[in-house]
Symmetry: C4
Subunit: 276 residues, 4 copies
């Protein structure tokens, strides 16, 4: 148990809310099965993200005046540069999310490094130097945190073991990146992803709102980090925009919830850390 | 993002509703596992379609005066000719849906062509020259759209990347068929299909209605295309006819929803395209 | 479509209700994975049937004065003879359900015949000559219906293509057994079966009642056969007995629903058939 | 059917409630796939248990003055000794749950014995001599009950064939350990476990409460054993603590429900057995 002092939020806020997007686009469907690269209708599920979903998501963010963090694979940046421009124009953060969205495989360190560096290059080409890293599908290897530190990231967001930011300790005992933990209970891919070949149940907006509301309520009660993970291709679907609006409306009704980007939360943790 | 001008519906209608059926019959159960051809009770799940489900579906369409589009595999047309007659007698559209309902495999172009041409022959034998193509299970290869154009189809319906009709651009830069996109959120096979070997959760009519209602409401709000995909063997089951009636009743309560066949929607897009 | 005259129920009843049980006991868990024969706690899931579930089910049947049909694998009869006695004492029908509950495999006709004949012997040892056959898990081969006829069964219950009884026509054109069709929408194993290794969603009684109620309501409206398939090890679990009672209470509130065994329904069909 | 006299609870109580925890921590994710040992973010799902979930669970147990039984794999005891101290400090029972949480495999008896003995050693190092054994994931072999007896356990908790405690009879006819049966319907891993690779539906607290409430109500009505199986890493998630509190509140509203540890229930069974 980790009952020791935990993160105190700035300005007397009770909790922090990070609205984040993994902007996988087509790579969600091809990264683990490259056969799909030759199945254009299969890929079109991801194409909905840049084509329609992103615009709808940005509109809702504007309506609720919420800053967001977009974790963008290199391929998305390369194939949909106008989408990156739109995100940046609205003042949101862009973070690293691999290049081909390949899931990290502990048996393939070369691939992990290549994904990291090609992703950095693709973002650099858009004028972005990311401060946050989120691995595809919350994957990792024993090397990941070292690599995240070596590449100079301020924070990582992919562990599920806490409800407060914390700093990783690396295997050599040195200070690692700050962790901004998340959980599937606040992830739209865990609850709305549908693949015809595996047939997950399609749930109602009411159902999903209840799951998310309960998670938010308790995280707020615990003064925790509400780290919401969305995908433009999922939450931007017609019916799901109702869910996104309803959840934003609900969270925005709490004045003591601090809406912040990943970088802002990590910086607040740094400041807190310096004072304790 | 594709915020440019999109489809405007005829006669000042706010949205278009395509009620479509994939009339797979037995082929739903045998196309991906030919062992099932020797399992008559397994196949009988599909046999319910022509034997009972279709009649129930046609009755509901009549009650709500709704035109529909039936995408019919060649085998269904060959094995259940009276069913095709019943569909045509009620004035509905018949489109192409493969021959054996084989899922398109990018590694087997010969099979894709054979499915296309045998399906065309089977429909021709019923006096039908289809103007619309929908691939089984929303599958496709890099060749599919070229083939759809070569065989003279007006439209394709199998991509999931938009909520408005659009025209495909082929790899050689030429104009391809019009796309009438759909999504699993309005597909009865995504939410009611049950295979004893995989055990998807059987959901209530209330649950499914809520999913479909939210999708319809927002598509209408966006002036989109409501492309509903049903199957006589699924929506024609006793309890599911209640769901179908309820959803038709709901959609029919909006005077600004234009109920049309795929061909009618595609023609409206052609007219719109000519004027923009 | 099969819009011709269909079954008319005796005594002016509007529909028929068959409450049936597949009394698999341990064989539900071992038939498709014999490794489980050496995993006693795995098998104990099935052992709940004869140990507790059956008694609870029989009590509910008595409370609602409902005749039932139990399809019993040979192994259940051999290992739990007192259970067979209890079923017979309450006047219920016992039908055939294989011997080891092996799923029929079209590539293994010897096994299918062996299952059939060993099952018959096991029931004979209990003094039962079954008139109804239901294959495990609704499986079948091209041979099954011939075998069911050869072994002298009056009826088969395992096809899913209709909501009325009908008579099979065999491949040689001769009359086959009467079919009493069923569907997963009224099967407790489709909606309450739980295997820790596959993790189906555990649904609420309210949810399942709504699914079953809608199916019953429409089948009654269509004057169909309500063929309910239950398992003592599933519906006899504590919470599920509430569901079973509630559903029986609901169906019993309709005086025009004829509760009958499979044999009684099949005999009524024979009489109907003779008069049309 | 086992309609004979069954367990009568002490002090005129109507039912017994065992609140139990399988405290797997990281081993839940590595036991069946050791590749995960090199995927720290994957393991972090289990790490939430000792880091946060356990403290939340212990707090709720204190609030409802409920004794609990924690079944602890050896690795958890070795890696998180402070967690064991916290459990013991609150007066709860600690039982055996393997060492690496390896699922019992009937084809690997050496491993089963090693898991048993290494688990005993790890608990012994914490000053614990367990009286109860619960196998990981309710697995077992033909050898398991003999081994449980040989190692001197009073009770086993892993069979699913009854709602009352009973005594096992071993293969040689001798008396085996007392069984405290459970069922998935009251297990948080059956209804809240989420693995991104398999995508079970995330259900609402209301849904789960209804499932658990119905099971409790009928078990109480039958004077049965309410054997609830929880996991700190699952029930200790923010939203799920609401569910745990609500269910405890509900059960505690019945004065005739006897809250007891596994050992207390087994001892009550021994006393009952001696008097019948």
């Amino acid at each position: 148990m980790n009952e020791e002092t935990h993160m105190i939020w700035p300005d007397g806020k009770k909790c922090a809310v990070m609205v984040t997007f993994d902007f996988d686009a087509e790579s969600m469907w091809s990264s683990e099965d490259t056969t799909n690269l030759r199945k254009p209708s299969m890929l079109s599920q991801g194409g909905y993200g840049p084509r329609r979903g992103l615009g709808k998501a940005l509109e809702i963010l504007r309506d609720y005046e919420a800053p967001a963090s977009f974790y963008v694979p290199g391929t998305t940046a390369e194939n949909h540069p106008y989408a990156i421009e739109a995100i940046l124009k609205d003042g949101h953060e862009i973070g690293h999310h691999g290049h081909d969205h390949l899931w990290i495989n502990p048996d393939n360190p070369e691939e992990e490094i290549r994904e990291m560096d090609r992703g950095l290059e693709a973002l650099k080409a858009c004028g972005v130097v990311p401060t946050g890293y989120r691995a595809p599908a919350a994957t990792s290897s024993d090397m990941t945190l070292d690599l995240v530190k070596q590449r100079g990231f301020l924070y990582n967001s992919g562990f599920l073991d806490d409800v407060y930011p914390y700093r990783h300790t690396l295997k050599d005992g040195s200070k690692g990146p700050i962790e901004l933990p998340f959980h599937w209970n606040l992830d739209d891919s865990a609850i709305t992803y549908f693949d015809f070949n595996t047939q997950a149940a399609i749930l109602t907006n009411d159902h999903i709102f209840q799951v998310w509301k309960d998670e938010f309520d308790v995280l707020r009660d615990w003064s925790g980090l509400v780290n919401i993970t969305l995908h433009p291709q999922l939450i931007g679907r017609p019916s799901r925009t109702l869910l996104f609006r309803r959840f934003m409306e609900y969270m925005r009704s709490f004045d003591d919830a601090w809406f912040a980007t990943g970088t802002q939360v990590a910086q607040a943790y740094e400041a807190f850390e310096a004072n304790t």
